[in-house]
């Protein structure tokens, strides 16, 4: 057991933190308020290698490890939750499955530009009638010669407003249930593909969430990711990795809120002294830091398990569940420590508080994580 970052990881952390503070933070408030997708930030992040952190260099990535990926998402989310999820999705929901399930031509055509930040990806699983119950999706893919023809609708797709490539899940035969689900790599410029305008949301408001529609959209069979019927497996194994990203996002948001809370508590005076001298405030800070450390450790543990073991489903679900619930508590206390100012948009904690909320919902709600964990403990442990 040795839990310290190596020199490369520390350098990466310092570099990303500088980028976050100097480039991302100054526009974070506007990104959120106006729902502006931070195109320029993502371009710069791509140049730094942050769009394909764990993708090997030969496929356009930065060739780093999963812990490094956690560091990137945490540091960015520490100043902007929207940018954090944009990067998390591109890295773990888009690059990862192509790396794992794609063939060399697909990697050449799709992975290289996505990992290098020349293109942006999105992951399209959820539908109006299929959220937690993803296997109930209704989008269809009909084989037609060398093509598939896709019809259907997706909702809540992060990066959807700006994505160049979508990984789309559709069924080749609805009667087969989850065994009919198949994954496709879809270039956004293809005929029959369209997206809506961004959803106006409670938090992570700059992340380009939108719906996608496919109308007789013709995809070459060569763009099928994995085998026919393998899509559900692709989706579930991808989400295992994605959950490490969302756990990191939650840790980052909470860390940002925590730092603001410590500073505010030292500066704000009431009853003639800094509020940090009051025991109630001190104890809030103690609980926040304890839970933050626990969440970060669980997240790194999941990342380490992903790198060193075959299965990391349990570790990823625990990291995601704990970190996202932790982020609610920590951002809530950060608002509390700020008093009325915490409720005012001028102060960042108000945004952190809103941004944290989604981490318990997407990439599997807390309830879904608990189902995964309970199944593991009761039946496989």
């Amino acid at each position: 057991m040795y839990i310290q970052l190596n020199d490369e990881q520390k350098m990466l952390r310092d570099e990303v933190r500088r980028f976050a503070d100097e480039v991302v933070k100054p526009i974070a408030k506007e990104t959120d308020e106006k729902g502006i997708f931070p195109t320029d930030v993502i371009r710069q992040a791509g140049e730094m290698g942050l769009t394909g952190v764990a993708v090997p260099e030969e496929w356009g990535g930065a060739g780093m490890d999963v812990i490094s990926y956690c560091i990137v998402v945490e540091e960015i989310s520490r100043v902007c939750g929207s940018t954090g999820v944009i990067l998390s999705v591109n890295n773990s929901l888009v690059c990862d499955p192509i790396m794992k399930f794609g063939n060399d031509e697909q990697k050449e055509l799709f992975l290289k530009p996505l990992a290098a930040g020349e293109k942006l990806g999105c992951f399209a699983l959820t539908e109006p009638g299929a959220g937690s119950d993803a296997a109930a999706l209704r989008t269809t893919a009909r084989r037609d010669g060398d093509d598939y023809v896709l019809n259907g609708n997706k909702v809540f797709i992060t990066n959807g407003t700006h994505a160049d490539v979508a990984i789309v899940f559709a069924s080749v035969d609805l009667a087969l249930g989850h065994k009919g689900i198949t994954a496709f790599l879809v270039p956004a410029e293809i005929d029959g593909y369209s997206h809506g305008i961004h959803e106006y949301k409670l938090g992570v408001n700059g992340s380009g969430t939108t719906e996608l529609a496919f109308e007789d959209m013709r995809i070459p069979a060569a763009f099928r990711l994995g085998e026919e019927g393998e899509g559900f497996k692709v989706a579930m194994s991808t989400l295992d990795g994605g959950r490490i990203g969302i756990a990191s996002q939650a840790v980052g948001i909470a860390q940002g809120a925590f730092e603001e809370a410590v500073q505010y508590a030292k500066e704000r005076e009431q009853f003639g002294k800094p509020i940090s001298s009051f025991q109630a405030i001190q104890h809030y800070l103690a609980d926040m830091s304890t839970e933050l450390d626990a969440a970060r450790l669980l997240t790194w543990k999941a990342a380490w398990t992903k790198m060193n073991r075959k299965r990391f489903t349990l570790e990823a679900a625990q990291a995601k569940l704990y970190s996202s619930e932790m982020a609610q508590r920590v951002t809530n206390l950060a608002v509390q420590i700020h008093g009325g100012y915490g409720y005012i948009r001028e102060y960042n904690v108000e945004r952190y508080f809103r941004d944290a909320r989604i981490t318990e919902i997407y990439e599997g709600t807390s309830e879904i994580q608990k189902m995964v964990i309970a199944n593991w403990v009761l039946n496989q442990g």
Binding site: M1, Y2, Q279, D293, T305, E315, Y322
Partner: protein, 381 residues
């Protein structure tokens, strides 16, 4: 430079197996009976001494096992899953008695007492608390004065673990009145010192097979060389000792939590209501998922604190681990008892004892409130 890893090294894995085997084979069969009869596990402690479990961190030069803090924590955890009373008897000897002696003792006192504690079958204790001085340890009234080449101690200590069975005690006493915590010193007191007397055993809610008593000092005389460190440094020695030992209580909590989860899982799979095992009801599954997730968080925090024992943050990390692990273990026992329904309220079921045993973990070696004060001090200074 080492790479980050969550894996235990070979020595730690082997020791875990050895202690687990011993605990299951030798300790478990009598745990319930000893609890019922308030019977101190003398024979078991003697066997543990032979295994080297009482001086785990003591240097080999003094017949100790010279293992690291993490290995020690793992041993405590394994013992606690089977019997928290045995675990605390062992952890007190290792970390609040041996450790300050090995760190701060003169050669003379080390030679006189460490081999006996580490390998001779003697156990030890730590006398800090007094009837009027608990969390506010600096307000202690016990005094000691130097007379020739002897310390003469007068006063009383309360709730001392291993009181009636300990051969050596690290006792805190005021040596320079009027100097506050700067006037407190740490002195090793053998139980056969003239003027030393042990009170009756306390009747406790839990940990009934551990021994807790008052200690009385009536012109009690010990050699001058039994002072630890310098005169006036005792309070700092006590605090350093507790920083160190809290990892042990965190590990004890983790062991109890682990057992509570095991009991909950096996009961939930067996108990049938509404025609199915209660493990099929989602509410029960979710309790189990939360217990398992908090256990992972507590264990990781504890191992992390143990593995970072020499860092400048060691005190904060130990307090975080103790705070989180003890509170999580209390929640886990509460939920595990709930899962047992009425049976859980009956002493035939192990969870009833665990529920009583676990309650102490947020109180001794610094209450949760004291841990939060320690952590907050690190954050706001």
């Amino acid at each position: 430079m080492s790479e980050l890893t969550f894996e235990l090294n070979e020595e730690q894995q082997l020791l875990r197996e050895e202690v687990r085997r011993f605990a299951v084979e030798r300790i478990r069969p009598g745990t319930a009976e000893r609890d019922k009869n308030h019977e101190f596990p003398k024979d078991i402690i003697a066997e543990m001494a032979e295994m080297g479990l009482l001086g785990m961190m003591v240097p080999e030069a003094y017949d100790g096992a010279e293992m690291d803090v993490l290995t020690y924590a793992i041993a405590v955890e394994e013992l606690a899953t089977v019997c928290p009373s045995v675990a605390v008897t062992m952890s007190v000897t290792n970390s609040v008695c041996c450790w300050p002696i090995q760190e701060f003792g003169s050669d003379e006192v080390k030679e006189a007492v460490l081999p006996e504690l580490a390998a001779g079958g003697a156990i030890g204790g730590f006398g800090l608390t007094e009837p009027g001085s608990g969390s506010d340890a600096g307000s202690m009234k016990t005094v000691a004065r130097l007379e020739g080449d002897e310390w003469v101690i007068d006063g009383e200590k309360a709730w001392i673990t291993n009181g009636a069975y300990g051969k050596y005690f690290v006792v805190l006493a005021r040596t320079s009145p009027g100097k506050g915590t700067q006037g407190i010193s740490a002195i090793v007191v053998p139980s056969d010192a003239p003027g030393f007397r042990v009170g009756g055993s306390e009747e406790k809610m839990g940990l009934k097979a551990s021994n807790t008593t008052a200690l009385y000092f009536d012109s009690c005389r010990v050699p001058a060389s039994y002072l630890l460190g310098e005169e006036g440094k005792g309070f700092r020695i006590a605090m350093a000792t507790l920083d160190h030992s809290r990892v042990g209580i965190a590990a004890q909590s983790v062991g109890i939590h682990q057992r509570a989860l095991e009991l909950a899982v096996s009961y939930a799979k067996e108990r049938v209501q509404f025609g199915v095992p209660i493990a099929k009801h989602q509410a029960i599954q979710f309790k189990i998922a939360s217990m398992a997730t908090e256990l992972a968080a507590a264990r990781t925090l504890t191992y992390y604190a143990a593995s970072r024992g020499h860092s400048p943050e060691a005190g904060r990390l130990a307090s975080q681990a103790k705070l989180y692990a003890s509170e999580a273990a209390n929640r886990a026992c509460w939920e595990a008892l709930q899962i047992h329904g009425g049976n859980g309220f009956c002493e035939d079921y192990e969870i009833a004892r665990l529920y009583r045993d676990v309650r102490i973990t947020t109180i001794y070696e610094g209450t949760s409130e004291m841990q939060r004060m320690v952590i907050a001090r690190h954050l706001t200074r």
